[in-house]
């Protein structure tokens, strides 16, 4: 349920410390005070403070087209333009008959002008239709009819937004389709107040605008976790068997589930990761995906498949650890209110919609929530499932091994070792910036630093890749050795991506370091740990690898004698 205007108003009194501030300018051609309040209230609900500049409503054109206006002086992160269909209609009504067919073009030109004047991101509301019923349905055949012009304008706005990256359309025309014009608009209030949105519609419009802002700010949903029985199909697979579940157009209310699955598949194809979380035996749960002719979703559409008898909060945590994305970017759908509440209580950040009782209502209900707003779309988004399936495969394979050694052997890992060069420099630099946990000295290197070290004979650099039978992790580790005299090499840098922890990569890396030291006649390898707030994971790194602490009160230094070193066992082959 969306919050009422009253609730949004009350939000303004909440404690907002720690919330980030976003500057928004609102310009509209009707009274926007309610929308302004609702935007601020909705912002707080979504975790941000909206610092709002509200332009006076008869000043839209001046504020937006004059670069010295107060609106531009405010330097907003986002400018929201809310032009009403009513003002559009009254403009149309005043036009001489011969010019009415130019209405859409004239308004579009105005938006284009704003776009070229505006530096910040522009969110432009489109126009909910008013059918003035002058022609009836025949208006579809008449270019100079209002309905023809308003539809043309909405289409033109879409086309324009495709060309201008900073222009986003807030689709309140679609919102009106969902809510209905009689909910969206309160005629008696409009006559006395210039309010074109009903008080009930204001929170929805604020919500749609904030959805766009949040998506651009990086807060959006990435993963949809689905229950199976009575969510993805009708009936209980464990009792009914895969032949008897309700799915498709033959049996019972199967059509509702088929259409629901088609929706999930469309989301997957646009980059939303699908995961399954079900209380079932794994094999039984997978059967419909493999054998049922009416299943829309197949196993290769699912990134992580969790079917077992553990509680769902634990399973969702497992899904989270495999995907490594925030709980706040996940949506969980389950027909069972008990499971929903259990998950909500244990994982408050996750979104758990209150799915209606009747599966026939699932889709219309979910459409109304607008859960999957996004600020970008590219064709590579669809490949995302593949990457996560690989990681999921590794984790589930590991579950089948009781012995970790056997699991590691089965992975058939290979590593390519290279000094820093022009090909790997960008990635080494990126990893140097991003590695916080497995990073012994946390020295950050730019590309220029790395190029300099690569040329300096006092340094020896190593980069490591890791691939296995499931896929390629790419470059995941880097080491820089500094030559200190003729006997000692100092490990200036050692960082590694946490994606490849517990694979024996540390052992492989140390073997490589010691091999180098031996071949070049060094007797000692010195390592150092510099504590940060994030790298306690590697506090005992050198001790675990057999280094001896050096007696130095000011530093955490460790020493290894090359001649006494026994090559560590690991299951990674050098390429």
């Amino acid at each position: 349920m969306i919050s009422s205007f009253k609730t949004l108003q009350k939000n303004l009194k909440k404690d907002t410390t720690l919330m980030p501030t976003i500057k928004v300018a609102l310009a509209g051609d009707t009274a926007t005070q309610f929308l302004a309040t609702a935007l601020k209230g909705m912002g707080i609900e979504k975790g941000c403070i909206i610092d709002l500049f509200e332009a006076e409503y008869n000043q839209v054109e001046r504020q937006l087209l004059d670069s010295t206006s107060e609106l531009y002086a405010f330097a907003a992160d986002y400018i929201v333009v809310f032009q009403s269909s009513h003002k559009l209609l009254s403009l149309f009504n005043k036009m001489p008959t011969g010019q009415q067919q130019g209405l859409a073009d004239e308004r579009l030109a105005f938006i284009k002008n704003i776009c070229s004047a505006v530096q910040s991101r522009l969110i432009c509301c489109n126009y909910p239709e008013i059918d003035d019923a002058v022609f009836g349905s025949y208006s579809n055949k008449v270019e100079s009819s209002f309905i023809y012009q308003i539809r043309k304008l909405n289409l033109s706005l879409m086309e324009l937004s495709m060309k201008i990256p900073n222009l986003f359309i807030c689709d309140i025309a679609a919102l009106q389709n969902k809510l209905g014009r009689d909910v969206m608009f309160h005629p008696a209030v409009y006559i006395g107040s210039e309010m074109v949105l009903s008080l009930d519609a204001v929170p929805y419009v604020a919500s749609r605008i904030m959805d766009i802002v949040c998506a651009i700010q990086g807060k959006f949903k990435k993963c949809l976790i689905l229950d199976l029985d009575n969510t993805l199909w009708g009936g209980v697979i464990g009792d009914d068997g895969y032949e008897k579940i309700e799915l498709g157009h033959e049996l019972g209310i199967g059509k509702a589930f088929t259409e629901f699955q088609q929706w999930a598949l469309k989301l997957k194809n646009r980059g939303i990761i699908l995961a399954i979380c079900s209380k079932n035996n794994q094999d039984t749960a997978k059967e419909p995906f493999e054998k049922h002719p009416e299943m829309v979703l197949r196993l290769n559409d699912i990134a992580v498949f969790m079917a077992n008898w553990d509680n769902k909060a634990d399973n969702i945590r497992r899904i989270q650890s495999i995907l490594n994305i925030g709980f706040d970017s996940m949506v969980f759908l389950d027909d069972n209110p008990f499971e929903r509440n259990m998950v909500r209580e244990n994982i408050p950040e996750i979104t758990v919609p209150e799915l209606p009782e009747d599966p026939a209502d699932y889709l219309e209900y979910l459409y109304g929530l607008n859960l999957f707003e996004t600020a970008s779309f590219s064709s590579t988004d669809a490949d995302r499932t593949k990457q996560y399936q690989i990681e999921s495969l590794r984790v589930t394979t590991q579950m089948n091994f009781t012995n970790e050694d056997d699991f590691l052997k089965s992975l058939q890992m290979k590593s390519e070792v290279n000094p820093f060069n022009s090909f790997n420099t960008p990635r080494v630099s990126q990893l140097s910036q991003r590695s916080n946990q497995f990073n012994l000295r946390t020295v950050r290197y730019t590309e220029a630093d790395i190029e300099r070290m690569a040329k300096d004979t006092h340094f020896q650099s190593f980069s490591f890749t890791l691939s296995d039978k499931f896929g390629d992790n790419g470059l995941i580790c880097a080491v820089v050795l500094e030559k200190k005299g003729t006997e000692t090499v100092f490990i200036d840098t050692w960082f590694m991506s946490c994606r490849v922890l517990k694979r024996g990569m540390e052992h492989f890396t140390l073997n490589t370091i010691v091999d180098y030291a031996k071949q070049h006649g060094f007797r000692f390898v010195i390592g150092e740990y510099i504590p940060t707030s994030k790298n306690s994971m590697v506090e005992d790194h050198y001790l675990k690898l057999g280094f001896i602490p050096v007696d130095d009160p000011s530093r955490h230094l460790f020493r290894l004698e090359v001649d006494r070193y026994e090559t560590k066992v690991c299951h990674i082959t050098a390429l």
Partner: protein, 83 residues
């Protein structure tokens, strides 16, 4: 006041207290916008919508602009509720 009038009056008072967040707010038929802190043109719209929902009635645009005090507002509500 008859029973029904009193009931409507109580419910209306409740709506006012809730909207203006003033527990001790007491209405009389002579109360006007000047007497209630925060009763401006914007909150007037909130008031109309809240009353329409509570009593399941619809005001006309003329009514919305016409009331001089709470007594007249009461008369509008009463006329609609009883019809």
């Amino acid at each position: 006041m008859c029973m029904e009038t009193r009931e409507i009056f109580n419910q209306l008072s409740e709506i006012f207290r809730d909207l203006f967040e003033e527990e001790s707010l007491t209405l009389t038929p002579h109360t006007t916008a000047i007497d209630v802190e925060g009763w401006d043109s914007l909150s007037h719209i909130q008031l109309i919508v809240a009353i329409e929902k509570k009593f399941k009635i619809k005001f006309s645009s003329r009514e919305i602009l016409s009331w001089k005090n709470v007594g007249e507002l009461m008369e509008s509500i009463q006329a609609k509720v009883s019809s």
